[in-house]
Amino acid sequence: MQSIVIAGYARSPFHLANKGALARVRPDDLTAQVIRGLIGKTGVDPADLEDLVVGCAFPEGEQGLNVARLIGLLADLPISVGGMTVNRFCGSSMSAIHYAMGQIALGAGEAFICAGVESMSRVPMMGFNPMPNPALAKKSAVYMSMGETAENVAAKYEISRSEQEALAVESQKRAAAAREAGKFTDEIVPIETKGGTVSEDGAIRPGTTAEDLAGLKPAFDANGTVTAGTSSPLTDGASAVLVTTEDYARKHDLPILARIKSVSISGCAPETMGLGPIISSQKAMERAGITAADLDVVELNEAFASQAIACIKDLGLDPVKTNIDGGAIAIGHPLGATGGRIVGKAAELLKREGGKYALASQCIGGGQGIATVLEAV
């Protein structure tokens, strides 16, 4: 198989849903701006693009009608470039990358933009018309709320509330420090809104202490351990990654960040969906012929502190190398956009921090995991 690379990564600032600076921005407009930013910073010729693949967890309303095609037109991509919306809930935009990789392997194109978006302000979780199948609801926990699954993981792995809070404090600390040091500046595309230009993340809470978090009420179960402070917040945001063959990238002098080494998908019990990354990461590492000890960079999506801790423990990940610039508890988790962010971020960190291998992995509602292993070029 020919070598496939991440040749560029960009994202919008991430802001809290409903009260944040992006709440009143349409998700299609938001993504189009990020794509224009990615094209501008990589210098890729849009005419060479085969397809625009956009991940979105609730593709309806302003995110509906095959929003990928609409975004392509909004971003002024040539009419010849395709557009496809992909849904695998939180894994949507990572799946978009995997799809592009597969197409390239098939010989069906050499350059793809793989984007992701979620306006959790403008399209609610569960969508506007949640209509679960009553028979399935009786037989499976597949409709269980994400917060409940986080409680289940905490209980199963005996992860205390203070352990979860320690991870959240660390995530906030790293994200705040990274923002302070300008480490997000390169990846963020400033977004024009009616209220002015938004160029910094808005969800991070610098100075969060364990004491602050200890004072919060459980968010999902009155007797539980998971709080708003140890959960990723509802977030608005978009991400985009340029996926090309290594040959194409070199020929056009694109800024190669990393090579995609292996990918995987796995299913798990819906009631502990947060454990999804364990099997998928193990599969991907096995396919890459490496072990956790070989990883220099890990981007593990923090849907909840409890599931992140469980995955770190079971996979034997090094907390120091995991989420170096902070995770989703601090930065935010716009469902459809997160996969693109963590793959792009892992690639960028591999280049910035040096090292050989990176892993990006996340859990997926309904009981799945998805993982990508990157290799330095």
Binding site: F128, N129, P134, F220
Partner: protein, 774 residues
């Protein structure tokens, strides 16, 4: 001069100023709220901004909606006084210091337009002093507007005009205060304390003095003065706790320094060492550590009262207060009660009534102004002169004479007569000329009580009546306790429909009472439940559905005109009206889930229909159902008519009347406006999500259960509600007709009434007035 008020400026963002600004905003009129620049901090608007922020958290809320709060523009008097030029009315509500007020007026004079009214909210300073040194033009625009606290909820506004005040300016302010702000305006003379506080302070002082002198407990004193005299049950000591004990010395100082030397107040004003000590120790009432009453948190929230003799707190007692006729409004029986009760009642009532009678015409032009001021400013059921009529003017005169007390001129004038009488169906009052004059309502004010004086009901039974309110409009009135609804109401509705159809153009549903309706008569329902008379209950449910749909599809317009509480079945009848004209203070909701039931008189379908037609609702079968489920399953009640609109109980075109006295008139106009080419609505057909939607709603409810916000039985009730709102077994492709939904609603209701835990909820509500969280 602009003849209407389009923008208002309030200067002074204290409790009163901010509250007045909020009420202007509640009227939908933009308002500038200014205060001084704070000595510290960099935000020069901090005081006014802080006042608005505080009001958004205050309960009871000064604002009727969040959108009202957005109409308040904040600023400070150094940087923003020029905004006065944009305003048609400037209300000054700064500290009660003449020099500060005068200084402000001098600055205002420089920036205001001619014809822009300026009024002071002073409660103590004479108008003549306020305008000293101002130009003639300023004096023409100046008056006093004295609001009561809290300005949203207290209906009284005392207006004092000066010798130079332009009548047109005063009329403009009065019109706005009345129609837009909903206040009942009482004209007062430029005398200290105006009307309400002058009499009220006298009354309070008398009550406190007599309780100390006679060695009464505060509980007994309040039990005598409260309900038996038609005064809120807080009585006197409870009221002082509420307004703040520390306010009393200020009022006393102000009145003793301004009242004429021969005013009887000087003889009763005294300082009480116990009260001074309480204030000094921080026992200033409910806002402080406690007052004459307190909750002792160290002793398990024990209710306590202070012993007036020792100054020590002790457990609150239930005194043996007035009994028999004396407890039920017979004032003569009250003041003639044996022992302390009669003596105390006479000391307070006799003195207060004599004092009030001495104030016509010095403080107010006539007896009506005095009575209105006390009823609206102190929430008395009857004004002083109405009370004198109950007691007997002759009786009062003789008793005053026997005690060697002076007898006010107006009492002598009345002699054997009453101050009010009904003549040719009109209410009249005794004027200073010794003649009776009609009590004239302002244009646009219509009270059912007035209609009743001059006519007989078209229909009447034990729970409802139908009246002719003129211009071809009939009025359906509920008459039961709390205007509760029962089978009799439904029977009357069924009878009324053909009558209105044949002889009238339109119908309004309205009552003069404080509460529109507390919903179905739970007492009756409980009785039926206890003897398992389920068929009777089902008859009541079906009868209500039929009566309400009868109103909805009647060939004439029906307008609901609610004020105050309108919950459960009282809300459902409104939902069946062609339009609603609501008083701004409307507390409405479908609260059936709170008693373990679901709405049973068509409320589910009507709410779905409202949600279906609401703008901005996302498409698909779920959003409307989810919106209604959220409101109804939590038994949420609106805190204003504006909020009821946000909650979809009111439609966008439904009207809101700010002044309670104008509600019936406005509702009648609304009904008449619908008469031409009236066609009844078509029955809605719904596309509902069926079992999948029910599953989704159940999941949401389970989330609340997990979070500890809902009980186990709440799950049963909310699932039953979900089943109705989602159309039972409906497939999203099916059309669910109104009648099918009614059947589902009725069956679900009947299923729940058989549940012991629902019965327990109903029982608990009957006994305590609060929902049982089982």
């Amino acid at each position: 001069m602009a003849d209407t008020i389009r923008k208002v400026c309030v200067i002074g963002a204290g409790t009163m100023g901010a509250g007045i600004a909020a009420q202007v905003a509640n009227a939908g009129v933009p308002v500038v709220l200014l205060d001084i620049v704070p000595k510290e901090g960099s935000n020069r608007n901090a005081i006014a901004e802080g006042a608005v922020a505080k009001m958004l958290k205050t309960e009871p809320a000064p604002f009727m909606s969040k959108s009202a709060a957005r109409l308040v523009e904040t600023g400070n008097i150094e940087d923003h006084l020029d905004k006065v030029a944009e305003c048609d009315w400037v209300i000054e509500a700064v500290i009660e210091r003449l020099d500060i007020k005068q200084g402000l007026y001098a600055k205002l004079e420089a920036v205001k337009r001619d014809g822009t009214a300026v009024s002071s909210n002073t409660s103590t300073i004479p108008l003549a002093n306020l305008v000293e040194g101002r130009s003639d033009a300023f004096k023409r625009d100046f008056l006093i507007t004295h609001f009561f606290n809290p300005p949203r909820y207290m209906r009284l506004l005392e207006i004092v005009t000066g010798r130079d005040t332009d009548a047109a300016v005063a009329a403009k302010v009065e019109q706005f205060a009345d129609v837009a702000m909903g206040k009942t305006v009482v004209q007062a003379n430029d005398t200290p304390g105006f009307i309400a506080n002058r009499i009220g302070t006298y009354w309070i002082q008398l009550g406190i003095n007599a309780a100390f002198d006679m060695g009464l407990t505060v509980e007994l004193a309040d039990a005598i003065v409260g309900k038996p005299m038609g005064v809120p049950k807080t009585g006197i000591f409870g009221l002082v706790d509420l307004v703040g004990i520390d306010l009393m010395p200020h009022l006393q100082a102000s009145l003793t320094s301004t009242l004429p030397k021969d005013d009887p107040y000087h003889a009763i004003a005294r300082t009480m060492p116990l009260i001074e000590k309480m204030i000094a120790d921080g026992y200033t009432g409910r806002k402080g550590k406690g007052g004459f009453y307190r909750l002792n948190k160290e002793m398990g929230r024990r209710k306590e009262a202070i012993d007036l003799q020792t100054g020590e707190y002790r457990e609150k007692i239930s005194p043996r207060g007035p009994s028999g006729r004396a407890a039920k409004g017979d004032l003569q029986a009250l003041v003639e009660s044996k022992g302390d009760i009669g003596a105390y009642a006479w000391a307070v009532l006799g003195g207060t009534l004599a004092y009030a009678a001495s104030l016509v015409p010095s403080a107010a032009a006539d007896v009506v102004a005095i009575d209105d001021a006390m009823k609206l400013g102190y929430n008395w059921k009857a004004g002083p002169f109405e009370m004198i009529d109950t007691l007997g003017a002759r009786y009062l005169t003789e008793r005053l004479e026997a005690e060697g007390q002076p007898v006010p001129e107006i009492l002598k004038l009345a002699g054997e007569r009453t101050f009010y009488r009904i003549e040719d169906g009109k209410r009249q009052f005794l004027g200073l000329d010794g003649e009776y004059h009609d009590v004239v309502r302002p244009e646009g004010v219509l009270r059912l009580a007035d209609v009743k004086l001059s006519s007989k009901p078209l229909l009447k039974n034990g729970s409802a009546a139908l009246w002719d309110v003129g211009d071809g409009v009939a009025c359906l009135e509920f008459t039961g306790k709390m205007n509760a609804l029962d089978g009799e109401v439904m029977k009357l509705i069924v009878k009324a429909i053909p009558l209105v159809q044949s002889q009238y153009k339109a119908l309004v549903v309205y009552t003069d009472a404080d509460s529109f309706s507390a919903g179905a008569n739970l007492g009756l329902a409980l009785f039926a439940l206890n003897i398992a008379a389920y068929s009777e209950i089902e008859k009541l449910v079906a009868g209500g559905q039929m009566a309400y749909k009868g109103l909805k599809y009647a060939p004439f317009p029906v307008v609901g005109a609610p004020a105050g509480l309108a919950v459960g079945g009282g809300c459902e009848i409104l939902l069946h009206c062609d339009a609603i004209q609501a008083h701004a203070e409307l507390y409405t909701g479908l609260v059936e889930c709170g008693v373990g039931l679901v709405p049973g008189w068509g409320g589910n379908g009507e709410m779905l229909d409202r949600a279906r037609n609401a703008k901005m609702m996302p498409r698909g079968p779920m959003p409307l159902v989810a919106k209604v489920f959220e409101t109804v399953s939590t038994a949420t009640v609106s805190k204003s008519a504006a909020q009821a609109k946000e909650m979809l109980f009111l439609r966008p075109d439904d009207g809101i009347t700010m002044n309670r006295d104008r509600l019936l008139y406005d509702a009648k106009q609304k009904a008449l406006s619908l008469v031409d080419d009236y066609t009844p609505p078509e029955a809605p057909e719904f596309r509902l999500p069926g079992p999948s939607g029910r599953e989704a709603l159940s999941m949401a409810a389970q989330g609340f259960r997990k979070q500890g916000k809902a009980t186990e039985y709440d799950m049963v009730v909310s699932d039953a509600l979900a089943a109705v709102l989602t159309g039972g077994d409906a497939d999203p492709l099916d059309t669910v007709r109104e009648q099918e939904l009614l059947k589902l609603e009725r069956e679900t209701f009947m299923r729940l009434v058989r549940e012991p835990r629902s019965v327990a909820r109903v029982e608990h509500m009957m006994e305590t007035g609060k929902p049982l969280r089982n």
